[in-house]
Symmetry: C2
Subunit: 235 residues, 2 copies
């Protein structure tokens, strides 16, 4: 490559990283808004999350488009190749996290002012999952495999929090059937936050791959026991 081409290539790699950075910021804002609206009902804030969702789709397409252009025209190798592939992967995960934020916003609007006091555990899960996403993105920009590993390890704790909230909500429904609809929305919302944590774990895997060149073959820790939960004993 000529000097000019090398400079151009480096500029493109830099813009790819900047686009992923912008998408990471948007994702963090969407999650923070979903947590705030879970804590204090705020239909306008929830509506704003839904309005901004197309921005995430657009960014993902732009990242994918530039990544493919880089792959096709520049044929990067070794760490540069892994960096381009990871940018695509991370953008895909962020897009799915933004989808979850949109789902959360729709349910928050339906919930309205209902059951505000019961939402505390949901807010805790939301904060825990959001911190995982932010730390995974930090590890991505710092190319820090150690930090990525720490994020990955935290998924087990998130799953345990989710399992515990799931049990709490089921018991709550049994005790007061008038709250079944609200509790069902909260079950799905808790599940959305739990999935956000899974996506953060995937971002952490992409970081480990970029830095080390070794794809993560190890299975993600799966401590979500709710799928296998059977009926609690009736009083």
């Amino acid at each position: 490559m000529s000097d000019h081409m090398i400079r151009q290539y480096e500029d493109e790699l830099r813009s790819l990283r900047e686009m992923v950075l912008a998408m990471g910021s948007l994702t963090g804002e969407q999650l923070d808004a979903a947590i705030a609206a879970s804590e204090h009902p705020d239909a306008a804030l929830a509506a704003r999350i839904i309005e901004r969702e197309p921005d995430a789709d657009r960014l993902e397409h732009q990242i994918d488009h530039l990544a493919i252009r880089l792959l096709a025209l520049r044929q990067p190798v070794a760490i540069d190749l892994r960096e381009v592939l990871s940018a695509r992967r991370v953008a895909g995960e962020l897009q799915r996290i933004c989808d979850y934020a949109e789902n959360l916003a729709k349910r928050l609007i339906a919930l309205g002012e209902a059951d505000v006091e019961a939402r505390r555990s949901l807010v805790s899960i939301g904060r825990f999952a959001t911190a995982m996403v932010k730390d995974a993105m930090h590890a991505y920009f710092a190319e820090d495999a150690g930090e990525a590993q720490k994020v990955w390890n935290r998924d087990r704790e998130l799953d345990a929090m989710y399992t515990s909230l799931f049990r709490e909500l089921i018991t709550y429904m049994i005790e007061d059937p008038r709250r079944i609809m609200a509790a069902t929305h909260m079950l799905f919302m808790a599940r959305d936050f739990e999935r956000v944590g899974d996506r953060a774990t995937n971002i952490a895997e992409a970081v480990r791959y970029t830095v080390s060149g070794v794809p993560v073959e190890e299975e993600r820790p799966k401590a979500d026991a709710t799928k296998s939960m059977v009926m609690p004993t009736m009083p």
Copy 2:
């Protein structure tokens, strides 16, 4: 390109299509198994779905790898380029459908013999969604934009079926709190099938894009009203 290179390129495009075909068949089998085990409890069949899930992940990686190789080395243009991009997109959707089949299998194992009679609506939704996936894959191989459009249109009906089952299950929980746990699993299973239909719709969009070259900007029809559902009036 030399004749030899053109032949090699055509061979690679053909293997890409064959890999997507193989992945489509696996996905259809996983969904059929999930429906069969919803209708007649069968823990061994459900366990088999879980065992086969890594095959889908492996196929998706192979497809993505070959697609990127084609993009990088062959620099396809026009319909060939769209075909490579669509193969990746379709493989991504199929992988997510296989994830849903795995989720369904885990919940079916937890449900055991519970509430077999209540699962009829779930089976209907499962059949409807699976037919959408199979027809979308047929449209993909036939490069038939008209058939793809028909699949896309059917998502609205699936969403209506889901909304109706959602209501049924909520009422069911209110009437008999002992069934809350089983009904909750069924709510999540119904949701998984509804998501399978969304993925079929995305495959249909990829087909329309491959054939026409115009990306689908139109919003997917969203008639899933459950996210906005409020508490039914209490008796």
